[in-house]
């Protein structure tokens, strides 16, 4: 399972490439495979040109895309996103949501936890409403 954190949790002393690669390095993957997979996933999130940039030199939307790339690089079957647009403006939120749709279209289940109702109203997907840690209602997509 891949996780997208609301507060990004990127390592500021590592480049975009190294931040994404970390998810594979901890699993002891071969450097060649790491290089290929990271470049591919950075291409998917349209950040290949920023591979050697440090996270603090990226916009909020770009940082969130790096986090998604890091979560996706190990090819998880489920992607859990915790308030993925919580720190973003509406334009960047839209980019991120479109990215999630692309990821989902490629076969990964995307689970988004959010307080932003506009995100799921227009999604046409299954929505589960929670209140005080309990399921309140459910809308099928």
């Amino acid at each position: 399972m891949g996780v997208v954190f609301q507060d990004f949790r990127l390592l500021n002393n590592k480049t975009v490439f190294d931040n994404v690669a970390l998810a594979l390095r901890i699993h002891n993957m071969h450097p060649k495979e790491i290089k290929d997979d990271v470049n591919n996933v950075l291409k998917d999130v349209k950040l290949k040109h920023k591979a050697h940039t440090l996270p603090q030199h990226l916009s909020g939307g770009e940082q969130q895309r790096v986090v998604i790339a890091r979560a996706m690089v190990s090819k998880p079957t489920v992607l859990l996103a915790d308030e993925p647009t919580g720190n973003l403006d509406s334009a960047n939120s839209e980019i991120i949501m479109n990215l999630f749709k692309e990821i989902n279209a490629r076969g990964t289940t995307v689970l988004i936890a959010t307080h932003n109702e506009s995100l799921f109203h227009e999604s046409g997907r299954r929505v589960i409403y929670l209140k005080d840690s309990a399921i309140e209602s459910e809308v099928s997509g």
């Binding site: 949790r9 990127l10 390592l11 002393n13 390095r25 901890i26 993957m29």
Partner: protein, 294 residues
């Protein structure tokens, strides 16, 4: 192996990123090891000097004036068979007088008026170096005195006691000082690694959330400690070499007595300083990373 390589790479990057605190740590470790190695060197050299002095130590056994040649021979044989005795030297009455004349030099004329040779014949016994314990030598002298044909037994009791005290004092100081410095090095590295750990707390949290294992998180810290210890040791080694060279080149002119203490430094000392530094630092790092909670 790949994790190890990545950890080494990561540790070196982190060491460079925190270069000022690391500089302070390596110098502290280096100075500690310098003091320790200098003390060990002086102790080793003092010990070798004491061993040399110990070689000249002997028990002088004066024989009765009336002792027969046969009894003298028997006593000599008994001494030679004694495994505690390394060397037996017989000094006859005439040899003793001759030696006295040599010592007196120009004043030897005072001996001309003597009707008889007043000096007794004697044996000079050299004991084995490891047996030069004041209690043992006193006991041995007592046993020899009880033998037939022996008039008196003499040895430098005070000198031997002083020698023994100095030797014990130096060994005890070495252990105490060595222990204190080694603990200090462990403590310095422990604190440095703890500081690194707190500074990288967020990074560790992220690694944990990404599913990193304990060893993946801890390994760079251990490698950082190891490198700090090795560099500290190299600094200590170089400083010791520099100070020793300076003393040999200049110091002997001002303090000739220093020559007796600082003779040479074995290569093993120079090589062992970085190894000791590495071992102590890795121990400090090990205790520090043990505090990382999961």
């Amino acid at each position: 192996m790949r994790v190890l390589l990545y950890s080494i790479q990561s540790a070196l990057k982190n060491l460079w990123a925190e270069k000022w605190i690391n500089l302070l740590t390596t110098f502290s470790v280096g100075i500690g090891l310098l003091i320790l190695s200098a003390f060990v060197t002086v102790t080793l050299n003092m010990d070798s000097v004491l061993k040399k002095w110990g070689k000249s130590f002997g028990i002088v056994v004066y024989l009765d004036d009336a002792i027969s040649a046969e009894t003298t021979g028997t006593v000599r044989e008994l001494f030679k068979q004694d495994t505690d005795i390394l060397e037996v030297i017989y000094i006859s009455e005439d040899e003793a007088l001759k030696e006295l004349r040599n010592i007196l030099g120009e004043d030897a004329s005072i001996l001309e008026n003597l009707e008889n040779n007043p000096l007794p014949s004697s044996f000079e016994l050299k004991l084995k170096r490891d047996l030069l314990d004041p209690v043992f030598v006193k006991k041995k002298a007592g046993e020899i005195k009880k033998m037939s044909g022996i008039a008196e037994v003499q040895y430098g009791e005070k000198w031997l006691t002083s020698l023994n005290t100095v030797s014990r004092l130096m060994k005890a100081s070495s252990i105490f000082l060595g222990g204190a410095i080694l603990i200090a090095i462990i403590f310095i590295t422990y604190n440095t690694i703890k500081i690194f750990f707190y500074r990288r707390k967020e990074e560790i949290e992220t690694l944990k959330l990404l599913g990193a294992t304990k060893s993946f998180i801890r390994l760079p810290f251990l490698i950082e400690g190891l490198v700090l210890g090795i560099i500290g040791g190299i600094i200590g080694s170089l400083a010791l070499f520099g100070i020793h060279s300076l003393i040999v080149a200049k110091g002997f002119n001002f303090m000739p007595s220093v020559r007796a203490i600082i003779i040479s430094i074995p290569l093993e000392i120079f090589l062992s300083i970085p190894i000791v530094g590495a071992l102590m630092s890795i121990a400090g790092s090990f205790f520090a990373v043990g505090k990382i909670r999961y």
